[in-house]
């Protein structure tokens, strides 16, 4: 849509595509995109342009939440439908497909996580399929859904939830919470703190150890969140840049990139899942 009435410059087009549909409260006295000033008591509204930044923490990216929930529900609907009618006899094609994924995940979990925990496998399955589905939204041509949305009067629509750092960080922080929870549950609070304090260099180097271990611990969720976000954001960005080309030349780049991106999509979902399993295994293992 680079040529749309010539009203949108390239950078405007790109930033438009990278802006979430954010709903939040603009505080009193904020100057809005059209030059008006927010009145007394502030106002709840959809952000326009850079207003999302002004809304601060108490705003929500409606598109990210919407798409991720739709995709999560799609995943659970399909899988629970199959699970309800699952037969130990000859499986149908859908059940076969679902079972392939289940076995793939189960194999990975069994290979890495050697303790008993009924939550790790479903957690890994949810992570893998959900992230895969969210990433797959990237393969839908970048203009289709935003165009439909704008026709419906919605000015911003970012369809790939994993290109929103909030989504990836939300999941990474959940995993981080689980790491802390199971670490304390398995080793006790004292054991967990001891693990942070007394290694790798013994108790006389406690501050150094603590610093090192805390950095290592905090790096886990941050790397999880940023790896996925960075990969998907960059991929999306390249699709947007390709979309700036004349329409008859786009396929030359977009097709190879999309094909390559299928790999990235799967790989990122897989990496997030495997790292989660590894972190959970580390939470269980005594060092």
């Amino acid at each position: 849509m680079a040529s749309e009435g010539g009203t949108l410059t390239s950078s405007e087009y790109i930033s438009h595509h990278l802006t979430n549909l954010t709903f939040g409260k603009l505080s009193e006295g904020t100057t809005r995109y059209d030059g008006s000033v927010v009145g007394e008591g502030g106002t709840w509204t959809f952000a326009h342009g850079t207003e999302a930044a002004d809304m601060g923490f108490w705003a929500i990216n409606v598109d990210t939440m919407g798409w991720s929930i739709v995709l999560g529900v799609l995943f659970l609907w399909l899988f629970s439908k199959v699970a309800k009618t699952a037969t130990s006899g000859v499986p149908g094609s859908t059940q076969n497909f679902v079972e392939t994924i289940i076995e793939f995940v189960d194999e990975n979990v069994k290979g890495i996580f050697h303790h008993k925990n009924p939550m790790i496998a479903p957690l890994s399955l949810t992570i893998f399929v959900w992230i895969f589905l969210m990433n797959t939204m990237d393969l839908i041509p970048v203009d289709w859904i935003p165009f439909i949305a704008s026709e419906m009067g919605i000015s911003y629509m970012k369809v790939v939830p994993t290109t929103d750092v909030n989504a990836t960080a939300g999941m990474a922080l959940s995993v981080f919470a689980l790491i802390i929870y199971y670490s304390i549950k398995q080793k006790g609070l004292g054991g967990f703190l001891a693990e942070l304090s007394f290694q790798p260099l013994g108790k006389w180097m406690l501050p150094f150890n603590l610093f090192l271990e805390l950095v290592g611990l905090l790096a886990k969720p941050i790397s999880l969140a940023l790896r996925l976000f960075g990969n998907m954001y960059a991929g999306e960005m390249i699709f947007i840049l390709i979309a700036l080309l004349p329409f008859w030349a786009q396929w030359v780049l977009s097709v190879p990139w999309a094909i390559f991106h299928i790999l990235v999509i799967t790989l990122q979902a897989f990496i997030f899942m495997v790292l989660t399993i590894v972190y959970m295994a580390m939470a269980y293992d005594h060092h």
């Binding site: 809304m55 108490w58 939440m65 699970a83 130990s88 059940q95 949810t126 909030n166 960080a169 922080l173």
Partner: protein
């Protein structure tokens, strides 16, 4: 890239999805998989057993056949022996019978020859007497010559 409430919303959604998956998706599917695995293992076991049974049955059948053949051979041999024996016995009996029949026939023959001879002798004596009478034309004193005639007849 604004960090906002979405991060918490996403975490909540994630939590709900995981719990749902843990309750309604994972257990039934893995149960089905485990059960199928068990079924397949049982099937393979049954196939193995059937194969072993078949082999056993085949061995048994071969053994039975061998035994049957041996028995049949023994029976045939025995029958042959018995047949030969019967034939021998029959031959012996036949020879014996033939000897007996022959002896009886010989005895009868001899007897009849003797009888005939006796009869002939009597007749010859008479004939000779008659002939002599005729030759001599004279009446021979029967009493006087009876001894002579009898002597003659005995010589015949």
């Amino acid at each position: 890239m604004n960090i906002n409430l979405t991060i918490i919303g996403q975490a909540i959604a994630f939590f709900i999805f995981v719990v749902f998956c843990m309750k309604y998706v994972w257990p039934p599917l893995t149960a089905a998989l485990a059960e199928r695995k068990k079924k397949i293992a049982e099937g393979l076991d049954a196939a193995d057993r059937a194969e072993r049974d078949l082999q056993l049955a085949q061995e048994k059948a071969t053994e039975n056949m061998r035994k049957g053949k041996e028995e049949a051979a023994a029976v045939i041999e025995q029958a042959n022996k018995r047949a030969n024996q019967i034939i021998e016995e029959a031959k012996e009996k036949a020879v014996e019978e033939a000897g007996r029949v022959k002896a009886a026939a010989t005895a009868e023959l001899e007897q009849e020859v003797n009888q005939a001879r006796e009869a002939l002798r009597g007749q010859v004596a008479t004939l000779a007497l008659a002939g002599a009478e005729k030759i001599l034309e004279a009446s021979i004193d029967e009493k006087a010559h009876a001894q002579l005639v009898e002597k003659l007849a005995a010589e015949l």
